[in-house]
């Protein structure tokens, strides 16, 4: 039984090439985008990608927490995969934090116009929002959320590895379940209060500072959660293809596929709910967000978004066989991640650099982040056995039958 992952040279090369592409794009962007308008695109591209990739790796911690609290046993066979992915949270969180601080404190970027004190003073809406959209509050919230996410992620991972040396007695099993439940519960509170509530308002929605939608955070959560599930599926499929994870089979893949299917629909539900209410009320201060997206240059992207993220997974994953097939699941996982990347692009783009452009810069940076994630995750996978042998639900995972 291959239980210890060894990073294949090819995967390592791929991750370095992708990171190289990302760095190269960053350098080109630094020189290509000059002036006020250009630099906006530069920073917006970075913000879009770092937020997106941080939130999709964070979805792995959420996966661990949610399945633990639900006492789900089926995922224990590949539990180390979301754990390894979640270990990218501190790194990507650090990158995003650095970026946010540059955006907020250098005063040279034009992403958040609520930073302009003079502008805010003459703008009653922004004056009213000033306690929330202020440098101090923004910074404290960023430190707290990214810090707590990283802390809980590291803690859960540490506990999981520590448990590998424990015995198989009933008492130990109870203890494993109990302490995981407590820590996962704690994480979920933080997660829901941040990703499910205020964090996307600050990082992304405040780009269009006049506009507000209470649906926005849930929408962002759904987007990143389904992409996070796709990412977990991709790593599981990769490991399986290379002869690891002997206890994982089509049954587990089937359940991951069901998750991707269900949450693609959930995403579409939120997409529609946010859109329809605003469309129906037709109030100028709300419609301003959809004006450039639905009736402006971004129209093709806006509807492509719906086709890729809803229609495609809906029809493709509807059949049982596609959820149980490694190739078709790998295909749809890539489609889902790309689709939600597009979603983030159209969330950030229209409010910052306004015009629809060919997203070579954004895509290049995205590839860089993919490379970084592959590098970090494959490194983390080597740090522990691929099967948590002492977990009391392991047997349930082995005999899992959907």
């Amino acid at each position: 039984m291959k239980d210890q992952f060894v990073v294949p040279a090819r995967l390592k090369t791929t991750s370095f090439v992708l990171m190289g592409i990302g760095l190269l794009t960053l350098l080109i962007g630094l020189f290509a985008f000059q002036g006020e308008h250009g630099s906006t695109r530069f920073w917006a591209g970075l913000l879009q990608n770092s937020t997106f990739f941080l939130l999709i790796v964070l979805a792995s911690t959420f996966f661990i927490a949610a399945t633990t609290l639900a006492h789900g046993g089926w995922q224990i066979g590949f539990r180390r995969v979301p754990e390894a992915i979640s270990m990218a949270v501190p790194v990507l969180g650090g990158i995003l934090f650095l970026l946010l601080m540059i955006l907020v404190f250098t005063g040279k970027t034009h992403i958040y116009h609520w930073l302009d004190a003079e502008h805010v003073a003459h703008d009653p809406i922004l004056t009213w929002k000033a306690p929330f959209l202020s440098k101090a509050f923004f910074t404290i919230a960023a430190v707290l959320t990214i810090g707590l996410w990283s802390y809980f992620t590291l803690r859960l991972r540490k506990m999981s590895i520590e448990q590998d040396s424990w015995d198989l007695s009933k008492e130990t099993g109870k203890r494993i379940i109990w302490r995981n439940t407590v820590w996962c519960g704690g994480f979920l509170v933080i997660y829901v209060l941040s990703v499910g509530s205020t964090t996307p308002w600050m990082w992304l929605m405040s780009i269009d500072a006049h506009w507000y939608s209470t649906m926005y955070s849930w929408y962002t959560f759904a987007s990143t959660w389904v992409s996070g599930l796709a990412l977990i599926s991709l790593f599981v499929i990769y490991l399986k293809r290379n002869g690891y994870l002997p206890m994982v089979n089509e049954e587990h893949l089937h359940d991951l596929g069901k998750f991707c299917f269900a949450f693609s629909i959930f995403w579409a539900y939120l997409w529609f709910s946010q859109y329809m209410l605003i469309w129906y009320a037709n109030m100028p201060e709300e419609i301003v967000y959809f004006k450039p997206r639905v009736w402006g240059e971004w129209r093709p992207i806006f509807f492509l978004n719906l086709v890729i993220n809803f229609i495609t997974p809906l029809l493709f994953l509807m059949k049982r066989d596609t959820k149980r097939n490694y190739s078709s699941m790998a295909f749809i996982a890539v489609v889902i991640i790309f689709g939600h990347w597009l979603d983030f692009w159209q969330m950030v783009g229209p409010g910052t650099y306004q015009h629809l452009v060919f997203p070579w810069f954004e895509f290049g940076i995205g590839l860089g982040f993919v490379g970084l994630i592959v590098f970090l995750v494959s490194n983390q996978l080597t740090k522990a056995a691929l099967v948590p042998k002492t977990h009391p639900y392991l047997k349930e995972s082995i005999i899992h039958h959907t």
Partner: protein, 198 residues
Amino acid sequence: MAVKNFVVASFDDEAVLFPAVKKVRTAGYKIHDVYTPFPVHGLDHAMGLRETSLHTAGFVYGITGTTTALSCMSWIFTTDWPMNIGGKPHFPLPAFIPITFELTVLFSAVGMVLTFCYLCQLAPFVKKHIFHPRQTDDLFVMAIEVTAKTNAEELKKFLAGIGGTQINEQRAEAGWWYGRFDREDRLFENKRPEPVNA
């Protein structure tokens, strides 16, 4: 519907039932059905039942619901009786989506329930032969059809050998029928099924 002969055996435990099902199939006997008090995971595979088409039916019903809702509403609001509602266009697609969704769900749900009842031969006033009264309680009951090639006596011995208990032969209607249980006797040439010694 046809009246057929069955050899019926009971099993006390899943662990006995699974190997028994395999052995019966390997021996070439025709399993009519296996009745269990609760859903048994993997029994359908062991019995060699084909994958259900219920979900395909559900998809077809769903699509029917979608088209019904969309075509109906768009015909009403554009051709039959156009109305100005809140200054919206006459074909306000977003406003149609919730109703389209609901009709899709309604059609597929109701359609699938009815199809499921049909496939399981369940309907009001419809009767089915019960091979053993304890098949919904604590016994796993396997009914094997006696075909022209089956030697019933050999089969009984075979079933006893693989852990079957309370083995008996019954002549019964294989499908469903309208009617009353107290008058079902006319369906059987040898009167009611043998009483079960519990």
